[in-house]
Amino acid sequence: MIRVELPAHLRTLAQVGREVSVDVEGRATLRAVLDAIETRYPVLRGTIRDHVTEQRRPFVRFFACEEDLSHDPPDTPLPEAVATGAEPFLIVGAMSGG
């Protein structure tokens, strides 16, 4: 089970609390976790990454275990503590704009 923290506006959109959990079959990678989130909450499709290219939206960032994972290739394995559910995977809206 992977724990995922969503930014406030996406929690409202998906009608969930601060943290959700998803199951990932096989290796827990960035792509696998995002696939699982979008499968469970289809309304989030297109809000975290592009529908077609699957590129991360520019003002969305990924963090876990005090590391910025935003620029990691999508098939990079997530830290072990995230894969075991000990630490959450953080999806963050960049602090910018008004």
Binding site: P7, G46, H51, F59, V60, G93, G97
Partner: protein, 370 residues
């Protein structure tokens, strides 16, 4: 008819303003989708309880919301806008080719007859249609593909398709407008399109017969005369009596003919409204006086409407989608400002009062007559 519902899109959410037919006391609901930019909210003419809203953010992209109960509750529907085929390029501000990239939905235009059919005008400019209540969207690619697309350039607000007019007398005919490409018309339900910009003159376009390149800000029509169009261009107020085949300037005695919004009285097809703005770099009224101008002669002769509007120290703007009229016997006129006011007139513009004064900057105003 028992009342009106004013649908307001702002930079930080949507608001629904409701009143009985007197239009004196208002109920304000919102913000809906607080914190998100709401470019447009519009109801279906075929089912007033069916509303569509364009919700977007620089962080999280585009969402389309749908309501089946007049805006009390909403549900997100499809947000996948993918250009048909290879998107290609348009021109960037400096004239270099720039790939077509979807950014947001500027305008939603529900079908006149089917609540589940709705058109979306998007940035970068293209027209999409949904026939399943917004769940899925398909591009009407003949517009971008008609030939001039690679030459389109964005206006200051982006390369946006912001105006969609459905012809009440001919379901095959649609008018659209793009900043800064111009106006286009289809006569076959969206398969093929042609530019309708003859007679428009714009500084900075050396060829006076240029097919595209005009910064059309808004087009309006009266449903009883869909062949007569009124346009607020970047500069110039224009009129066409032949469905856009040719245009004549009708700015007449306006104190400035720059502006964004234009609309037509619900019962008088020759009565039109604009809000003159000082200039393209000074987006506020002349002399700090917020004045709506009304022509009862289809243009050329204009009168200032000031009763109830601020006549000193007012420096707001009125954006292109932020004016609308209701269809009550005494026609109501409404507009929203970038200062967060929504003004209403229940007497065709003779007198005005604010419904609300302190919303976020208003992007769009639509009215449903219930």
């Amino acid at each position: 008819m028992s009342g009106v519902r004013v649908l307001v899109g702002t930079r930080k959410g949507a608001f629904v303003l409701s009143s009985d037919a007197k239009r004196a006391a208002w109920d304000v609901s919102g913000p809906h989708f607080g914190g998100w930019e709401i470019y447009h909210v519009k109801g279906s003419p075929a089912d007033p309880n069916r509303l569509y809203a364009s919700q977007s953010s620089g962080w999280f992209g585009q969402i389309i919301q749908r309501s089946n109960d007049g805006g009390k509750t909403w549900e997100p529907v499809g947000n996948k806008f993918v250009y048909d085929g290879v998107p290609g390029t348009h021109q960037w501000y400096d004239g270099t080719p720039h790939p077509w990239e979807f950014k947001r939905v500027w305008h939603l235009e529900p079908s006149l007859t089917d609540p589940d059919t709705v058109y979306a005008g998007v940035e970068d400019a293209a027209l999409f249609r949904s026939t399943d209540g917004g769940q899925t969207w398909q591009e009407l690619a003949g517009l971008r593909g008609h030939g001039s697309g690679p030459n389109w350039q964005p206006g200051a607000g982006g390369l946006c398709l912001h105006t969609i007019l459905l012809d009440p007398g001919n379901p095959q005919r649609i008018f659209i407008a793009i900043s800064a490409a111009g106006a286009f018309r289809t006569d076959d339900g969206g398969k093929t399109w042609r530019p309708i910009n003859r007679g428009l003159k714009s500084d900075g376009i050396p060829n006076p017969n240029a097919e595209v390149g005009h910064c059309v800000h808004r087009i309006a029509m009266h449903r009883s005369r869909p062949g007569v169009l009124f346009m607020q261009k970047h500069w110039d107020v224009m009129r066409s009596d032949d469905a856009g085949d040719s245009w004549q300037e009708v700015s007449g005695n306006l104190p400035t003919d720059f502006g964004f919004a234009i609309d037509v009285h619900a019962h008088e097809p020759e009565t039109i409204y604009v809000v003159p703005i000082k200039s393209d770099s000074e987006h506020y009224p002349l002399d700090g006086k917020l004045r709506v101008y009304r022509s009862r002669t289809g243009g050329q002769e204009w009168e200032a409407l000031t009763n109830g509007l601020p006549q000193r120290d007012c420096y707001v703007n009125v954006l292109r989608d932020a004016m609308a009229v209701d269809a009550l016997d005494s026609c109501g006129v409404y507009f929203g400002t970038t200062g967060g006011q929504v003004y209403a007139s229940a007497d065709s513009g003779d007198s005005w009062a604010p419904i609300v004064r302190d919303l976020p900057p208003v992007v769009s105003v639509e009215v449903q007559t219930l």
